[in-house]
């Protein structure tokens, strides 16, 4: 069986201790020169004057793994171990420094609930906007609209600006849109812990449906029970490297020091 996600020697370096203008300075040296010549020479000189050290940190280092179609894979690790950076690279939000990823399917990534929600727009308008930003086609959103509204339980407030929503209503709506995405590969970052207990249960149920529908899911969480329940395999990240891969229980037990 061929993998649907192939990650080979993926590394990502960040520059720290320098001004934001110099992050990525190594990669953009040529551009910076050309820009400087054209327009920003004075700005650049100013910025260089205030330059501190040029320390770098590897947020990801030689990460290699494969994911097979229909697999649900958990990613765990301490804060700063590179989980979120990995998801960001896989979601094409940021470039890797070295390495390569091949994706053999349509990807939707869910790194936060309500990405692109605008407070001044109504619930209905935000469903369309958010859906489009997450990669749904307009027709697809229209088709699933009633389902989304029913799932979020906000039908009375559809024409109200979301800035007047309670925080619970807001996250319910946001999760409802996301839950109706239909990609081949779903990348999820710790977004399930939203709403009250009954809505959380509903979310978990939905997540369970998604994982059983044959979709490939990459799932970052600190909720070990959730990982154990939803994922067959788990990747443990440590200091930007893959420290252990295997059946979820084993990896979780290892991580918790059991």
């Amino acid at each position: 069986m061929r993998p649907i996600i192939k990650v080979e020697n993926l590394s990502k370096r960040y520059h720290i201790g320098t001004s934001p203008a110099h992050r990525g300075a190594l990669r953009y040296a040529t551009l910076r020169e050309s820009l400087a010549r054209v327009a920003s020479a004075p700005i650049r000189r100013l910025a260089r004057g205030g330059r501190s050290g040029d320390e770098t940190i590897w947020a990801l280092k030689d990460v290699t793994f494969n994911v097979l179609p229909s697999e649900v894979v958990g990613i765990i690790g301490a804060n700063g171990s590179g989980k979120s950076t990995l998801l960001k690279v896989l979601s094409r939000i940021t470039d890797p420094t070295t390495g390569r990823v091949e994706l053999y399917g349509r990807v939707a990534s869910l790194l936060e609930v309500g990405t692109g929600f605008h407070p001044d727009l109504t619930g209905k308008e935000n469903i369309y906007l958010n859906g489009a930003v997450l990669g749904m086609k307009r027709r697809e959103i229209a088709r699933k609209f009633d389902e989304i509204v029913a799932f979020a339980e906000i039908d009375k407030f559809l024409d109200t600006s979301v800035k007047y929503y309670s925080s619970g209503m807001y996250v319910r709506l946001a999760f409802a849109v996301a839950a109706h995405l239909d990609p081949d590969i779903l990348i999820v970052d710790e977004v399930l812990a939203v709403g009250d207990a009954s809505f959380q249960k509903k979310c978990l149920g939905k997540m369970d449906d998604v994982t059983k529908s044959g979709r490939t899911v990459l799932f970052v969480s600190h909720g070990m029970e959730m990982i154990a329940q939803l994922c067959q395999r788990t990747i443990l990240m440590k200091d930007g490297r893959v420290s252990k891969v295997g059946p979820s229980r084993e990896v979780i037990d290892h991580y918790l020091g059991l």
């Binding site: 953009y28 551009l31 820009l35 229909s70 896989l90 308008e125 930003v133 044959g214 395999r233 229980r249």
Partner: protein
């Protein structure tokens, strides 16, 4: 808890998953390859096309949000250029008596204000669009070029409304239809592309150097004085005229006036504006694409 019976495989080789495999017919070639940034980047038109609905929704959002919770709503599209016209007509038309090439000063200046208002708003909105959408940039992928493009394209609605008012002025000032008006669509296209070129570049610079945000209003103000909006090109002494003529907006604004008043076009100036606009577009979009992948890290 943890009613999982999946611990029987070693996970690395053949993970245990039940049904569903048959659902996938994996393509031979990957749909997406993620690699480090290369030094030469393509425009990737296919990607832009694939995400055209995001462009549409971003533009729609920018239009919707702009006049939410305002008392006058979309009327602001007219109020802004109209009041500028009154102010300029009073100070420059009446008090200073600036020449206006024979046309009535108020409508003459209004014709200049129209493309200028569109251009300056496009530059301001486009230039701040990446920063304003940083929540999208750090959380979801789509071609970033769509963000400034949508912000700039959204201004076309205001432009159309202000333009409709101009058409209402025409009989009032005893002007007729001219063949030159056929040049209006290409002129609108030209000013849009110019705004797109400068706006995307400003947006990209702004994402990395916040100095841009402070310099931008000031730069826009200066640019207005370098463009024959409130004064005609004809009163600029010959020795300074080349400065004004280097500005690609000059040919466009003069073109708008020629089109509406039935004056002869300065084809050389228009050709120069077009050439500069295309060059700027190619270069600035290239710069934008080069910087694009770092936006999420620096914004």
């Amino acid at each position: 808890m943890g009613a999982v019976s999946r611990t029987d495989t070693d996970g690395l080789a053949e993970p245990a998953y039940d049904s569903g495999q048959a659902l996938y017919h994996l393509p031979e070639k990957p749909l997406v390859v993620i690699e480090p940034h290369r030094s030469w980047v393509a425009l990737n038109l296919r990607d832009l096309w694939a995400y055209r609905e995001v462009f549409y929704f971003l533009m729609w959002r920018d239009i919707k949000v702009r006049y939410k919770q305002t008392a006058f709503g979309i009327a602001w599209a007219i109020i802004q250029p109209l009041f500028l016209m009154f102010v300029f007509a009073f100070f420059f038309g009446k008090l200073v008596r600036v020449a206006s090439d024979g046309a009535p000063y108020p409508i003459w200046v209004y014709v200049g204000i129209l493309p200028w208002t569109f251009f300056s708003n496009a530059l301001a909105n486009g230039g701040n669009s990446l920063i304003g959408n940083s929540n999208l940039i750090t959380k979801v992928y789509f071609p970033r070029l769509l963000i400034p493009s949508a912000a700039i394209a959204a201004g076309l609605l205001d432009f159309s409304i202000a333009f409709a008012l101009l058409l209402a002025f025409i009989p009032f000032y005893g002007l007729g239809l001219t063949w030159g008006m056929l040049m209006l669509p290409p002129l609108v296209l030209l000013v849009t592309v110019l705004a797109l070129a400068v706006g995307t570049w400003t947006a990209a610079l702004n994402a990395r150097y916040r100095d841009v945000r402070h310099a931008l209003p000031f730069a826009i103000q200066l640019w207005m004085f370098a463009t024959p909006i409130i004064y005609p090109l004809s009163i600029v002494p010959d020795e300074y005229r080349w400065v004004i003529a280097l500005n690609p907006l000059t040919g466009i604004v003069e073109g708008f006036r020629a089109a509406l008043f039935g004056w002869p076009f300065d084809w050389a100036a228009l050709g120069f504006s077009t050439a500069v606009t295309i060059l700027l577009l190619v270069f600035f979009v290239y710069v934008f694409r080069r910087m694009e992948s770092s936006f999420a890290d620096v914004i």
